[in-house]
Subunit: 276 residues, 2 copies
């Protein structure tokens, strides 16, 4: 299924996800289109969460916000229904993961607000195109992620340490990797640190808190970028009665071009009105 | 006063503004620091306005959002009190400008949220440094601004046509000017149009809706950028019972470096708590 979808048009990928035919990870699917992390929560928390994203744009680059109660993400796609168009969702209640489901139609609420956040795929593709290879991709692993000692700037109940991902980059290309990724502010932007991991509270770079361990060969430097797991930590800290995210790796594939300067489509009028 | 302040440290400029000694425009003051447009409104409108900014990041590049009721913009400065630290404010009631004042302490409310938006100064400095001269600056005029036919993406009561500013750029440097300004997403980013003004609904490029007329010499192309007057139009459209902006040209000068990748300072704990 995955191999077939890899060469499919975006519309076919979305249909496979929407109908529940495909429920797995989205890396490499809908190539050329922006993929997004997801956070869905009651409107009562939405202003604070949006402030949290504004104050922490590297870990939480906001690419789309729905109207309250409207599951159609009209700024990011012409027909995206957020209740069905993600392969798998994690449902949190009071800060704890309670279910993983492939459709949230039955728990959708009129007061829900959907947030879409940029992910690292965009800048990883740019690094690869520049000839900077990425070990975790070449070896079909998940990037190593660490809870750093960097405090995020809090907003309301949202707070916590920044989670960072690590990619080993040849010493002589670190500056270039930093410059390239800086051009993608909606995909975590430039690195937050490189060199000595201890300086940001990471005591063993071979033992990540999430993802797979990756080597740091001689003549390579560990480079750390802000990571999209950071908002997940902040969401858990907020202990909302209910909150829904994508299942890690199982992202929303949008209609927006991966390299768009602005991740916003012109609105389709029919989607601007709330639906029941 | 202006000439003296031009060479003053930021702290002295802020004191002059805070005490009401200086009440004029801020162009050229606090050089090297990010200046921001301002919109202050009741919390009931804040989520929709933030959505409006997210959906229209070129005209409305959000650089800071206060906590509700907290006049200290701690993410943009170590001691910014938004009630006193702007040289002049416009107060709108029900969508109409009713007063211009130099201090809003007496109309400040516990439900106010402050939004700071990036302005064009940053990318103009970058263009000048690249040797692309700007007629309105060289001639001490205000940049010409036009109501275009480009619809912004609405959010709640916020909507309207995009206002654009025009700068004439030598034909052979247009692509370069676009690339340079693209690097400043918090200062309106890349241009929204260049060439034929009629294509975006501007029928006479010598007659701006705001600002001063500027020539478009032979071998120059009119280049249009999204303009910070756009949110003012959207604020008026929303007809809020009360809303406060800076007086045009009389901006908030922040502690944030003009070329910061992210316009957010680490929080000073004492400012995180609400003040009465």
């Amino acid at each position: 299924m995955y191999e077939a979808l890899k060469n499919s048009r975006l519309a076919d990928v979305r249909t496979a996800i929407r109908t529940g035919t495909y429920r797995s990870h989205t890396a490499g699917l809908g190539r050329g289109h922006l993929q997004a992390n997801l956070a869905i929560m009651p409107e009562a928390y939405a202003l604070d969460f949006m402030r949290y994203c504004q104050r922490n744009p590297k870990p939480c680059p906001l690419t789309g916000v729905s109207d309250t109660g409207n599951p159609f993400m009209f700024t990011m796609g012409h027909d995206i229904d957020i209740r069905t168009d993600v392969p798998a969702y994690n449902v949190y209640r009071d800060g704890h993961l309670t279910e993983t489901v492939d459709d949230i139609s039955d728990i959708w609420r009129d007061d829900f607000v959907v947030f879409a956040l940029g992910c690292s795929f965009t800048f990883e593709h740019a690094l690869q195109e520049a000839g900077i290879s990425l070990w975790h991709i070449d070896n079909d692993k998940t990037v190593p992620m660490f809870r750093s000692s960097i405090e995020t700037v809090p907003a309301g109940p949202f707070r916590g340490k920044m989670v960072v991902s690590m990619r080993a980059v040849p010493k002589h290309r670190v500056a270039e990797a930093a410059e390239i990724s800086k051009c993608y502010p909606l995909a975590h932007g430039g690195p937050v640190h490189w060199g000595e991991p201890k300086e940001i509270g990471i005591h063993d770079v071979t033992r990540p808190d999430w993802g797979d361990a990756a080597p740091v060969p001689d003549d390579h430097v560990p480079v750390f970028w802000a990571c999209g797991v950071t908002p997940q930590v902040a969401l858990e800290a907020a202990q909302m009665p209910i909150c829904i995210t994508h299942k890690p790796g199982h992202m929303l594939i949008t209609d927006v071009a991966e390299d768009a300067e602005v991740p916003v489509l012109s609105p389709k009028t029919e989607n601007l009105t709330k639906v029941p």
